[in-house]
Amino acid sequence: MSTRPPYLKIEALSKHYGSMAAVDEVSLEVAAGEMVVLLGPSGCGKTTTLRLIAGFVEASAGRILLEGRDYAGLPPYQREMGMVFQSYALFPHMTVAQNISFGLRMRKMPAAQIASRLEEVLALVKLEKMADRYPKQLSGGQQQRVALARALAIRPKLLLLDEPLSNLDANLRQEVAREIRRLQRAAGLTALMVTHDQDEAMAMADRLVVMDRGRVQQVGPQEALYEAPENPFVARFIGHSNLLRGTLRDGCRLRLGEGVEAQLAQRYNLAGDATLALRPERIRLLPPGDPTPARMTLAVEDATYVGAHVEYLLALPGGGSLILHQPTTGLAGAARLAPGSRAGLSWDAGSERIFDASDRALAAAGPAPALASV
């Protein structure tokens, strides 16, 4: 982001229900025209954050600034934020056209202007032929588009979308996701979207905000979250990671349990409890006879061919399993490791991530000493 002040600025926003903090000191900056997606498990406070911004619930603490203006105490009907609800919330007693023009009528826009705006928005969402239908005469996807059109029609200062795809059939989701993105870009709208679906968030966002238990865990573009998660929660929530707990010695040896040790690719200035995060597709399975020294050796529990890769489950000390994805490209005909056999594993320096006992990510202090060949 440039040095311009952010379009939307949220400062230490909190919402308490009784003693429970549904939203806990959330801070965020959004640039004009940006699409930011709030991502997190169900109940982590995403919807509440959105509703705080829309003005439907009053904040316990914190500030919301849009174009530098403090929105505290401003009723929702003066905020000019277009909201798309999870349930769409279309007015059942109004036609598509009446639904879409509702906000314009509330603004007392002249009839001729309403008509032209309506036509324009209907064309945008490709619902020209449905203008006189009632919501219940529409499919889920069409209802979704009406909800979107209704929010777009008022040319909102901010577009708020609460799980806009969750009520759609799986095969429609991608299409609608692209559609929302196209409309948002075309209108140059600043948008804040909420979802619990990681793929959806990755596909739609300019930047993501990962939330857990009311708190922001990490903010950043897709790549930063995937490559450099700041804590184990983000590592597991974005793209799944194996989280291996152990004791770090000599800065580069992680003892996982009874006779099992991982030789790390890098050195860290830490001794004691640590967590190693490894992504299933970033671990290599060393074929028998491969001269590469193994960073860790585990017993194969199970191997399943699932198309793009073979999914291996490898036994970890203490009962858990490590998941490893072996790509199937160039693997045709190759023998799979049978359950019970021991497998040598390796990974690159950039693929390992170490967290300390208080779940903070550690920067590497340098490469680890080379491994001796077996």
Binding site: G55, Y77, G82, F85, A89, H93, M106, Y134, R150
Partner: protein, 290 residues
Amino acid sequence: MARQPSRRRSGEGLTAGLLVGPATAIVLLSLVAPLALLARYSLNQYDRMTFMKEAFTAENYLRFVADPFYAGVLWTTLSIALVTTALCLVIGFPIAYGIARMQSRWKSTAVLLVILPLFIGSTVRALGWIGLLGRGGLVDSMSGLVVPGGGVTLLYTSFAVAIGILSINLPYMILTLQGVIESIDARLEEAADSLGATPGRRFWHVVLPLALPGLATGGILVFILAMNAYATPFLLGGARFQMMAPMLYREYAVNNNWPFAAAIAFILMLTTLSLTAASTLLLQRRYQGA
């Protein structure tokens, strides 16, 4: 409303028939039979000696229509019923809305407070109003304090009857409306809100149209109750204030004129039914689309 295609199979229809059968029989016996008898009575003739003489005459109905006194009673009844129904709607809606949208743990207490008066019969409550509104009652003595010697006795006025009926009918209205308002998704109101509708316009364009079926149901319910009110007008209206149900009882029990009482009963019933039907039709026509 969109018509739902019937998905019932014939087997289910048979079972349903068996289940509904006895209920239908009971309804027929307890409702239709007395009504048929009443209809027959209303065409008989009054006789000073035997009280009722077999006949086939419209004279009882004609008497009601021809005598301005009876028409006046019907008119009084209608106006009291319409006014109390309107007041029930106007007073009941905000209360019902408040309860319906309540989220705190006091909600069930609020509902209980609304239901509570229903445990006390209308006669007992009328006696309460007598204590409040009668000579030497609370209102009388209070106003006597403000303006010395100028006490107000509201008992035996149409005001007393209206307020008595209103207090009895209001809980029914509130409970009916509360159910309907709760069925309106609160998100719809938020949607209206976010689209720039002020609270007043949100109410007018979203809440009211969607609550209309409930307003009609509640309105019809309390209208029927008011049209047929007996104890309240009897106790709070006094001798000079006439409404249909007490008058009907007097013709039947005091004057022993069963044919005329039967005719009054039918006129009351038909007036109530036709007004109810008319309002329903009107609403349906207005809200066909939704």
